[in-house]
Protein backbone atom coordinates (compact mmCIF):
# COMPACT_ATOMS: atom_id res chain seq x y z
CA UNK A 1 0.00 0.00 0.00
CA UNK A 2 1.66 3.24 -1.06
CA UNK A 3 0.96 6.28 1.09
CA UNK A 4 -1.38 8.98 -0.17
CA UNK A 5 0.34 12.04 -1.68
CA UNK A 6 0.63 14.65 1.01
CA UNK A 7 -1.25 17.94 0.93
CA UNK A 8 0.96 20.40 2.84
CA UNK A 9 -1.81 22.43 4.45
CA UNK A 10 -3.90 19.42 5.42
CA UNK A 11 -0.88 17.53 6.76
CA UNK A 12 0.29 20.56 8.77
CA UNK A 13 -3.15 20.84 10.37
CA UNK A 14 -3.01 17.14 11.25
CA UNK A 15 0.42 17.62 12.84
CA UNK A 16 -1.07 20.47 14.89
CA UNK A 17 -3.97 18.23 15.88
CA UNK A 18 -1.52 15.52 16.94
CA UNK A 19 0.36 18.09 19.02
CA UNK A 20 -2.94 19.16 20.65
CA UNK A 21 -3.67 15.56 21.53
CA UNK A 22 -0.23 15.30 23.13
CA UNK A 23 -0.83 18.52 25.05
CA UNK A 24 -4.29 17.40 26.20
CA UNK A 25 -2.71 14.53 28.11
CA UNK A 26 0.09 16.66 29.59
CA UNK A 27 -0.09 17.39 33.31
CA UNK A 28 0.61 21.07 32.57
CA UNK A 29 -2.73 21.34 30.80
CA UNK A 30 -4.54 20.80 34.12
CA UNK A 31 -1.98 22.26 36.47
CA UNK A 32 -1.32 25.65 34.87
CA UNK A 33 -4.96 26.66 34.28
CA UNK A 34 -5.87 25.29 37.71
CA UNK A 35 -3.24 27.37 39.46
CA UNK A 36 -4.13 30.45 37.43
CA UNK A 37 -7.80 30.05 38.24
CA UNK A 38 -7.09 29.81 41.94
CA UNK A 39 -4.80 32.85 41.72
CA UNK A 40 -7.46 34.81 39.83
CA UNK A 41 -10.15 33.77 42.26
CA UNK A 42 -8.21 35.38 45.08
CA UNK A 43 -7.18 38.42 43.03
CA UNK A 44 -10.71 39.33 41.90
CA UNK A 45 -12.51 38.58 45.15
CA UNK A 46 -12.91 42.37 45.77
CA UNK A 47 -14.87 42.56 42.51
CA UNK A 48 -17.11 39.71 43.63
CA UNK A 49 -17.55 41.40 47.01
CA UNK A 50 -18.56 44.64 45.33
CA UNK A 51 -21.03 42.88 43.04
CA UNK A 52 -22.53 41.01 45.98
CA UNK A 53 -22.85 44.17 48.06
CA UNK A 54 -24.40 46.15 45.21
CA UNK A 55 -27.17 43.64 44.68
CA UNK A 56 -26.72 44.12 40.93
CA UNK A 57 -25.42 41.80 38.27
CA UNK A 58 -22.44 42.57 36.04
CA UNK A 59 -21.90 42.16 32.33
CA UNK A 60 -19.26 39.45 31.67
CA UNK A 61 -16.42 41.93 31.08
CA UNK A 62 -13.95 41.16 33.82
CA UNK A 63 -11.49 39.91 31.21
CA UNK A 64 -11.26 43.42 29.72
CA UNK A 65 -9.91 44.89 32.96
CA UNK A 66 -7.74 42.03 34.24
CA UNK A 67 -4.63 43.26 32.47
CA UNK A 68 -4.91 46.76 33.91
CA UNK A 69 -3.44 45.34 37.10
CA UNK A 70 0.25 45.01 36.25
CA UNK A 71 0.79 42.55 39.08
CA UNK A 72 -1.88 40.33 37.56
CA UNK A 73 -0.88 40.73 33.91
CA UNK A 74 2.58 39.27 34.47
CA UNK A 75 1.51 35.94 35.98
CA UNK A 76 -1.37 35.58 33.51
CA UNK A 77 0.95 35.94 30.52
CA UNK A 78 3.64 33.82 32.16
CA UNK A 79 1.13 30.98 32.09
CA UNK A 80 1.24 31.03 28.30
CA UNK A 81 5.01 30.86 28.45
CA UNK A 82 4.83 27.64 30.42
CA UNK A 83 3.08 26.03 27.46
CA UNK A 84 5.27 27.59 24.79
CA UNK A 85 8.64 27.13 26.46
CA UNK A 86 9.16 23.72 24.81
CA UNK A 87 8.80 25.07 21.28
CA UNK A 88 9.41 23.63 18.72
CA UNK A 89 7.99 20.80 20.81
CA UNK A 90 10.51 18.03 20.19
CA UNK A 91 8.60 15.33 22.01
CA UNK A 92 9.78 11.74 21.93
CA UNK A 93 6.97 11.05 19.50
CA UNK A 94 8.40 13.54 16.99
CA UNK A 95 9.92 10.76 14.86
CA UNK A 96 6.63 9.06 14.15
CA UNK A 97 4.73 12.21 13.24
CA UNK A 98 7.73 13.67 11.38
CA UNK A 99 8.16 10.59 9.19
CA UNK A 100 4.58 10.75 8.05
CA UNK A 101 4.38 14.49 7.63
CA UNK A 102 7.73 15.29 6.07
CA UNK A 103 9.96 18.13 7.18
CA UNK A 104 7.98 21.01 5.67
CA UNK A 105 4.56 19.98 6.93
CA UNK A 106 5.94 19.00 10.33
CA UNK A 107 7.57 22.39 10.92
CA UNK A 108 4.49 24.17 9.58
CA UNK A 109 2.32 22.11 11.91
CA UNK A 110 4.43 23.06 14.92
CA UNK A 111 4.24 26.71 13.84
CA UNK A 112 0.45 26.54 13.55
CA UNK A 113 0.32 25.05 17.03
CA UNK A 114 1.62 28.28 18.59
CA UNK A 115 -1.34 30.54 17.64
CA UNK A 116 -3.72 27.66 18.38
CA UNK A 117 -2.19 27.40 21.84
CA UNK A 118 -2.45 31.17 22.27
CA UNK A 119 -6.10 31.11 21.20
CA UNK A 120 -6.94 28.33 23.64
CA UNK A 121 -5.08 30.01 26.48
CA UNK A 122 -6.71 33.38 25.84
CA UNK A 123 -10.09 31.66 25.66
CA UNK A 124 -9.39 30.03 29.01
CA UNK A 125 -8.63 33.44 30.57
CA UNK A 126 -11.84 34.84 29.08
CA UNK A 127 -13.82 31.88 30.40
CA UNK A 128 -12.17 32.17 33.82
CA UNK A 129 -12.99 35.87 33.93
CA UNK A 130 -16.61 35.04 33.15
CA UNK A 131 -16.96 32.15 35.60
CA UNK A 132 -15.45 34.18 38.42
CA UNK A 133 -18.37 36.59 38.28
CA UNK A 134 -20.95 33.88 38.93
CA UNK A 135 -23.59 34.11 40.29
CA UNK A 136 -23.51 37.89 39.90
CA UNK A 137 -23.36 37.81 36.11
CA UNK A 138 -25.79 39.07 33.52
CA UNK A 139 -25.19 38.37 29.83
CA UNK A 140 -25.89 41.77 28.38
CA UNK A 141 -24.19 44.17 25.99
CA UNK A 142 -24.67 47.09 28.35
CA UNK A 143 -22.05 48.09 30.89
CA UNK A 144 -24.65 48.36 33.62
CA UNK A 145 -24.42 49.80 37.09
CA UNK A 146 -21.59 47.61 38.35
CA UNK A 147 -18.94 48.62 35.86
CA UNK A 148 -20.17 52.19 35.60
CA UNK A 149 -20.00 52.67 39.36
CA UNK A 150 -16.52 51.14 39.51
CA UNK A 151 -15.37 53.49 36.74
CA UNK A 152 -16.96 56.69 38.03
CA UNK A 153 -16.75 56.46 41.79
CA UNK A 154 -14.18 55.57 44.40
CA UNK A 155 -15.86 52.26 45.12
CA UNK A 156 -12.78 50.54 43.71
CA UNK A 157 -10.69 52.00 46.54
CA UNK A 158 -13.30 51.19 49.15
CA UNK A 159 -13.35 47.55 48.12
CA UNK A 160 -9.60 47.32 47.50
CA UNK A 161 -9.79 46.56 43.78
CA UNK A 162 -6.42 46.41 42.04
CA UNK A 163 -7.90 46.26 38.55
CA UNK A 164 -8.80 49.62 37.00
CA UNK A 165 -12.20 50.08 35.44
CA UNK A 166 -11.81 53.22 33.38
CA UNK A 167 -14.33 55.50 31.76
CA UNK A 168 -12.36 55.67 28.52
CA UNK A 169 -13.18 52.02 27.90
CA UNK A 170 -16.83 52.44 28.88
CA UNK A 171 -17.24 55.49 26.67
CA UNK A 172 -15.36 54.15 23.65
CA UNK A 173 -16.53 50.54 23.47
CA UNK A 174 -19.61 48.46 24.02
CA UNK A 175 -18.95 45.44 26.26
CA UNK A 176 -18.79 43.15 23.23
CA UNK A 177 -16.35 45.48 21.44
CA UNK A 178 -14.17 45.77 24.53
CA UNK A 179 -14.10 42.01 24.98
CA UNK A 180 -13.20 41.52 21.32
CA UNK A 181 -10.46 44.16 21.48
CA UNK A 182 -9.02 42.76 24.70
CA UNK A 183 -9.18 39.21 23.36
CA UNK A 184 -7.34 40.26 20.20
CA UNK A 185 -4.59 42.02 22.16
CA UNK A 186 -4.05 39.16 24.58
CA UNK A 187 -4.16 36.57 21.79
CA UNK A 188 -1.57 38.48 19.75
CA UNK A 189 0.69 39.02 22.75
CA UNK A 190 0.51 35.34 23.69
CA UNK A 191 1.27 34.33 20.11
CA UNK A 192 4.20 36.72 20.01
CA UNK A 193 5.70 35.35 23.22
CA UNK A 194 5.17 31.82 21.90
CA UNK A 195 7.22 32.49 18.79
CA UNK A 196 9.76 34.59 20.69
CA UNK A 197 10.27 31.68 23.06
CA UNK A 198 10.71 29.29 20.11
CA UNK A 199 13.18 31.59 18.36
CA UNK A 200 15.28 32.15 21.47
CA UNK A 201 15.17 28.41 22.32
CA UNK A 202 16.96 27.77 19.04
CA UNK A 203 19.40 30.65 19.25
CA UNK A 204 20.41 30.91 22.90
CA UNK A 205 18.99 27.73 24.46
CA UNK A 206 15.91 27.05 26.53
CA UNK A 207 17.18 28.35 29.87
CA UNK A 208 18.24 31.74 28.52
CA UNK A 209 15.09 31.95 26.42
CA UNK A 210 12.89 31.38 29.44
CA UNK A 211 14.73 34.04 31.44
CA UNK A 212 14.49 36.63 28.67
CA UNK A 213 10.82 35.99 27.88
CA UNK A 214 9.80 35.85 31.52
CA UNK A 215 11.71 39.04 32.27
CA UNK A 216 10.01 40.79 29.38
CA UNK A 217 6.64 39.66 30.65
CA UNK A 218 6.99 40.50 34.33
CA UNK A 219 8.75 43.83 33.74
CA UNK A 220 5.26 45.11 32.96
CA UNK A 221 5.00 45.72 36.70
CA UNK A 222 7.76 48.33 36.48
CA UNK A 223 7.74 49.56 32.90
CA UNK A 224 5.58 52.58 33.72
CA UNK A 225 8.47 53.96 35.79
CA UNK A 226 10.92 53.63 32.91
CA UNK A 227 11.39 56.01 29.98
CA UNK A 228 8.48 55.98 27.58
CA UNK A 229 10.38 54.35 24.71
CA UNK A 230 10.97 51.21 26.79
CA UNK A 231 7.26 50.40 26.60
CA UNK A 232 7.79 49.60 22.94
CA UNK A 233 9.92 46.66 24.05
CA UNK A 234 7.42 45.24 26.51
CA UNK A 235 4.43 43.79 24.64
CA UNK A 236 3.01 42.49 27.90
CA UNK A 237 2.09 46.13 28.65
CA UNK A 238 0.02 46.29 25.46
CA UNK A 239 -2.61 43.93 26.85
CA UNK A 240 -4.00 46.82 28.92
CA UNK A 241 -6.84 48.12 26.75
CA UNK A 242 -7.26 51.12 29.06
CA UNK A 243 -3.66 52.22 28.53
CA UNK A 244 -4.04 51.86 24.76
CA UNK A 245 -7.36 53.70 24.68
CA UNK A 246 -6.12 56.55 26.88
CA UNK A 247 -3.01 57.08 24.75
CA UNK A 248 -0.53 56.25 27.52
CA UNK A 249 1.23 53.85 25.19
CA UNK A 250 1.35 56.27 22.27
CA UNK A 251 -0.36 53.74 20.03
CA UNK A 252 -3.95 52.90 19.30
CA UNK A 253 -5.52 49.46 19.02
CA UNK A 254 -4.71 49.13 15.34
CA UNK A 255 -1.15 50.28 15.95
CA UNK A 256 -0.68 47.73 18.72
CA UNK A 257 -2.15 44.99 16.54
CA UNK A 258 0.13 45.90 13.64
CA UNK A 259 3.24 45.96 15.81
CA UNK A 260 2.37 42.65 17.36
CA UNK A 261 1.58 41.22 13.94
CA UNK A 262 4.95 42.33 12.63
CA UNK A 263 6.69 40.89 15.68
CA UNK A 264 4.86 37.61 15.21
CA UNK A 265 5.74 37.41 11.52
CA UNK A 266 9.41 38.17 12.21
CA UNK A 267 9.86 35.73 15.10
CA UNK A 268 7.82 33.04 13.34
CA UNK A 269 9.83 33.41 10.13
CA UNK A 270 13.14 33.06 11.98
CA UNK A 271 11.86 30.15 14.06
CA UNK A 272 10.49 28.27 11.07
CA UNK A 273 13.55 28.90 8.90
CA UNK A 274 16.04 27.83 11.57
CA UNK A 275 14.01 24.75 12.54
CA UNK A 276 13.56 23.69 8.91
CA UNK A 277 17.32 23.79 8.38
CA UNK A 278 18.17 22.08 11.67
CA UNK A 279 18.44 18.53 12.84
CA UNK A 280 15.06 17.68 14.33
CA UNK A 281 15.21 16.92 17.99
CA UNK A 282 18.97 17.02 18.49
Amino acid sequence: MRPVKRNLVRTSCLVTLYQLRAAAADLKTCLVPGCIFVYLYAAVSPVRDFIASSGEKAAPCLFVFLFSDVNLAGPLLAGMLLFAMDAPFYGRDRLFSFLRAGRGAWVAGQALFVPVLAFLYTSFLLLAGTLLLFPGIEFSNRWGKVWTTLAMSDAWAEFGLTIRVTTNILFNYTPAEALAAAFLLVFLVCTFYGFLSWMLNLIVGQAASLVVCLADIVIVARVWYFPEWTRNLVPSAWTDLAAITSGSLKMDLAGAAWRLGAGIVLTAAVSIAVTYRSDIGK
Binding site: M1, R2, P3, R6, A22, A25, G102, D279
Partner: protein, 205 residues
Amino acid sequence: MERKETVSAEGLVKYFGSEPVLRNVSFSVEAGTICGIIGRNGSGKSVLFKCLTGLYIPDSGKVRIDRDSLGALIEEPGFLLHYPGLRNLVYLMEIGGKVRRDAAEEAIRLVGLEPGDRRPVRKYSMGMRQRLGIAQAIMEDPDILILDEPMNGLDNEGVRDMRELFISLKNKGKTLLIASHSREDIEILCDRVYEMDKGRIALVR
Protein backbone atom coordinates in the same frame (compact mmCIF):
# COMPACT_ATOMS: atom_id res chain seq x y z
CA MET B 1 19.98 -11.95 -9.96
CA GLU B 2 20.81 -8.26 -9.65
CA ARG B 3 18.32 -6.33 -7.57
CA LYS B 4 17.57 -2.66 -7.59
CA GLU B 5 19.04 -0.58 -4.78
CA THR B 6 16.31 0.99 -2.71
CA VAL B 7 18.40 2.59 -0.03
CA SER B 8 21.82 4.02 -0.51
CA ALA B 9 24.12 6.55 1.02
CA GLU B 10 27.18 8.05 -0.58
CA GLY B 11 29.91 9.89 1.24
CA LEU B 12 27.80 10.87 4.24
CA VAL B 13 29.54 13.16 6.66
CA LYS B 14 28.00 14.51 9.82
CA TYR B 15 29.52 16.61 12.56
CA PHE B 16 28.23 17.42 16.02
CA GLY B 17 30.11 20.63 16.62
CA SER B 18 33.66 19.81 15.62
CA GLU B 19 33.34 16.10 16.30
CA PRO B 20 32.73 13.87 13.26
CA VAL B 21 30.05 11.26 13.95
CA LEU B 22 29.73 9.99 10.39
CA ARG B 23 32.89 9.77 8.34
CA ASN B 24 32.34 9.33 4.63
CA VAL B 25 29.69 6.62 5.04
CA SER B 26 28.70 4.84 1.86
CA PHE B 27 26.52 1.75 1.59
CA SER B 28 23.57 0.36 -0.30
CA VAL B 29 20.70 -2.00 0.30
CA GLU B 30 19.11 -4.06 -2.43
CA ALA B 31 15.36 -4.29 -2.78
CA GLY B 32 13.75 -7.23 -1.04
CA THR B 33 16.68 -7.96 1.25
CA ILE B 34 17.53 -7.49 4.89
CA CYS B 35 20.67 -5.49 5.53
CA GLY B 36 22.21 -5.36 8.96
CA ILE B 37 24.42 -2.75 10.53
CA ILE B 38 26.27 -3.89 13.56
CA GLY B 39 28.27 -1.75 15.93
CA ARG B 40 28.79 -0.73 19.50
CA ASN B 41 26.92 2.05 21.23
CA GLY B 42 28.20 5.36 19.95
CA SER B 43 29.42 3.96 16.65
CA GLY B 44 27.03 6.16 14.68
CA LYS B 45 24.24 3.77 13.74
CA SER B 46 21.42 5.91 15.12
CA VAL B 47 22.85 9.06 13.58
CA LEU B 48 23.05 7.27 10.24
CA PHE B 49 19.45 6.16 10.52
CA LYS B 50 18.37 9.67 11.42
CA CYS B 51 20.10 10.96 8.31
CA LEU B 52 18.35 8.32 6.21
CA THR B 53 14.92 9.21 7.63
CA GLY B 54 15.47 12.94 7.22
CA LEU B 55 15.53 13.80 10.91
CA TYR B 56 19.14 14.92 10.58
CA ILE B 57 20.63 16.81 7.69
CA PRO B 58 24.06 15.47 6.69
CA ASP B 59 26.83 18.01 6.33
CA SER B 60 27.76 16.42 3.03
CA GLY B 61 26.99 13.36 0.98
CA LYS B 62 23.87 11.95 -0.62
CA VAL B 63 21.02 9.81 0.58
CA ARG B 64 18.79 7.96 -1.83
CA ILE B 65 15.64 6.60 -0.25
CA ASP B 66 11.93 6.77 -0.98
CA ARG B 67 10.66 8.55 2.13
CA ASP B 68 7.09 8.29 0.87
CA SER B 69 7.15 4.54 1.50
CA LEU B 70 9.23 4.32 4.61
CA GLY B 71 8.52 2.94 8.04
CA ALA B 72 10.99 3.44 10.85
CA LEU B 73 11.67 2.79 14.46
CA ILE B 74 14.62 4.71 15.87
CA GLU B 75 15.52 5.08 19.54
CA GLU B 76 12.85 4.25 22.09
CA PRO B 77 9.36 4.31 20.68
CA GLY B 78 7.61 7.52 21.70
CA PHE B 79 3.84 7.41 21.85
CA LEU B 80 1.11 9.50 23.41
CA LEU B 81 1.22 7.73 26.74
CA HIS B 82 -2.32 8.45 27.89
CA TYR B 83 -3.96 6.82 24.90
CA PRO B 84 -4.28 3.11 24.06
CA GLY B 85 -2.00 1.51 21.49
CA LEU B 86 -4.52 1.28 18.67
CA ARG B 87 -5.58 4.88 19.08
CA ASN B 88 -1.95 5.98 18.92
CA LEU B 89 -1.52 4.18 15.62
CA VAL B 90 -4.75 5.62 14.20
CA TYR B 91 -3.68 9.17 15.11
CA LEU B 92 -0.38 8.60 13.33
CA MET B 93 -2.11 7.15 10.29
CA GLU B 94 -4.17 10.34 10.03
CA ILE B 95 -0.99 12.32 9.50
CA GLY B 96 0.11 9.86 6.85
CA GLY B 97 -3.06 10.65 4.94
CA LYS B 98 -5.13 7.52 4.97
CA VAL B 99 -6.64 5.87 8.00
CA ARG B 100 -7.19 2.15 7.73
CA ARG B 101 -8.14 0.99 11.16
CA ASP B 102 -8.08 -2.66 10.03
CA ALA B 103 -4.46 -2.28 8.91
CA ALA B 104 -3.51 -0.84 12.30
CA GLU B 105 -5.31 -3.69 14.07
CA GLU B 106 -3.59 -6.24 11.85
CA ALA B 107 -0.18 -4.70 12.53
CA ILE B 108 -0.83 -4.85 16.26
CA ARG B 109 -1.78 -8.54 15.97
CA LEU B 110 1.30 -9.29 13.90
CA VAL B 111 3.57 -8.03 16.66
CA GLY B 112 1.78 -10.11 19.27
CA LEU B 113 -0.32 -7.42 20.94
CA GLU B 114 -4.06 -7.17 21.32
CA PRO B 115 -5.86 -4.46 19.31
CA GLY B 116 -8.67 -4.33 21.83
CA ASP B 117 -6.35 -3.55 24.73
CA ARG B 118 -7.72 -0.30 26.14
CA ARG B 119 -4.89 0.30 28.55
CA PRO B 120 -2.93 3.50 27.93
CA VAL B 121 0.57 3.02 26.57
CA ARG B 122 2.06 4.33 29.82
CA LYS B 123 0.97 1.02 31.37
CA TYR B 124 2.78 -1.04 28.74
CA SER B 125 6.01 -2.82 29.54
CA MET B 126 9.15 -1.87 27.61
CA GLY B 127 8.74 -4.95 25.45
CA MET B 128 5.14 -4.07 24.65
CA ARG B 129 6.10 -0.53 23.68
CA GLN B 130 8.82 -1.92 21.45
CA ARG B 131 6.30 -4.21 19.76
CA LEU B 132 3.93 -1.29 19.31
CA GLY B 133 6.80 0.68 17.80
CA ILE B 134 7.35 -2.07 15.26
CA ALA B 135 3.60 -2.14 14.57
CA GLN B 136 3.63 1.58 13.80
CA ALA B 137 6.52 1.03 11.41
CA ILE B 138 4.76 -1.70 9.43
CA MET B 139 1.10 -0.70 9.60
CA GLU B 140 1.08 1.42 6.43
CA ASP B 141 2.72 -1.41 4.45
CA PRO B 142 5.83 0.57 3.54
CA ASP B 143 8.32 -0.80 1.03
CA ILE B 144 11.29 0.11 3.23
CA LEU B 145 11.73 -0.45 6.94
CA ILE B 146 14.48 1.10 9.03
CA LEU B 147 14.68 -0.45 12.46
CA ASP B 148 17.17 0.61 15.09
CA GLU B 149 17.66 -2.11 17.71
CA PRO B 150 14.21 -3.61 17.12
CA MET B 151 14.76 -6.42 19.63
CA ASN B 152 15.37 -4.06 22.58
CA GLY B 153 13.34 -5.05 25.59
CA LEU B 154 11.93 -8.20 23.99
CA ASP B 155 12.04 -11.58 25.68
CA ASN B 156 13.26 -14.68 23.85
CA GLU B 157 9.80 -15.43 22.51
CA GLY B 158 9.44 -11.85 21.32
CA VAL B 159 12.80 -12.00 19.57
CA ARG B 160 11.76 -15.19 17.79
CA ASP B 161 8.43 -13.68 16.78
CA MET B 162 10.07 -10.54 15.40
CA ARG B 163 12.65 -12.55 13.47
CA GLU B 164 9.84 -14.49 11.83
CA LEU B 165 7.99 -11.28 11.10
CA PHE B 166 11.00 -9.63 9.48
CA ILE B 167 11.69 -12.69 7.34
CA SER B 168 8.06 -12.80 6.22
CA LEU B 169 8.23 -9.10 5.32
CA LYS B 170 11.36 -9.74 3.28
CA ASN B 171 9.59 -12.59 1.50
CA LYS B 172 6.87 -10.12 0.55
CA GLY B 173 9.50 -8.02 -1.17
CA LYS B 174 10.09 -5.46 1.55
CA THR B 175 13.50 -4.00 2.18
CA LEU B 176 14.71 -3.94 5.76
CA LEU B 177 17.65 -2.11 7.26
CA ILE B 178 18.30 -3.22 10.81
CA ALA B 179 20.82 -1.94 13.31
CA SER B 180 21.78 -4.12 16.19
CA HIS B 181 24.56 -4.80 18.62
CA SER B 182 23.48 -8.47 18.67
CA ARG B 183 25.56 -10.49 16.23
CA GLU B 184 23.14 -13.40 16.56
CA ASP B 185 20.20 -11.39 15.20
CA ILE B 186 22.31 -10.04 12.38
CA GLU B 187 23.65 -13.48 11.47
CA ILE B 188 20.20 -15.05 11.40
CA LEU B 189 18.34 -12.29 9.57
CA CYS B 190 20.64 -10.44 7.26
CA ASP B 191 21.62 -10.98 3.66
CA ARG B 192 24.25 -8.27 3.83
CA VAL B 193 26.05 -6.96 6.89
CA TYR B 194 27.96 -3.76 7.51
CA GLU B 195 29.91 -2.89 10.60
CA MET B 196 30.14 0.61 12.02
CA ASP B 197 32.87 1.83 14.28
CA LYS B 198 33.53 5.44 15.26
CA GLY B 199 31.50 6.78 12.37
CA ARG B 200 33.05 4.59 9.72
CA ILE B 201 31.31 1.75 7.90
CA ALA B 202 32.73 -1.37 6.33
CA LEU B 203 31.10 -4.25 4.49
CA VAL B 204 31.44 -7.49 6.38
CA ARG B 205 29.52 -9.81 4.05
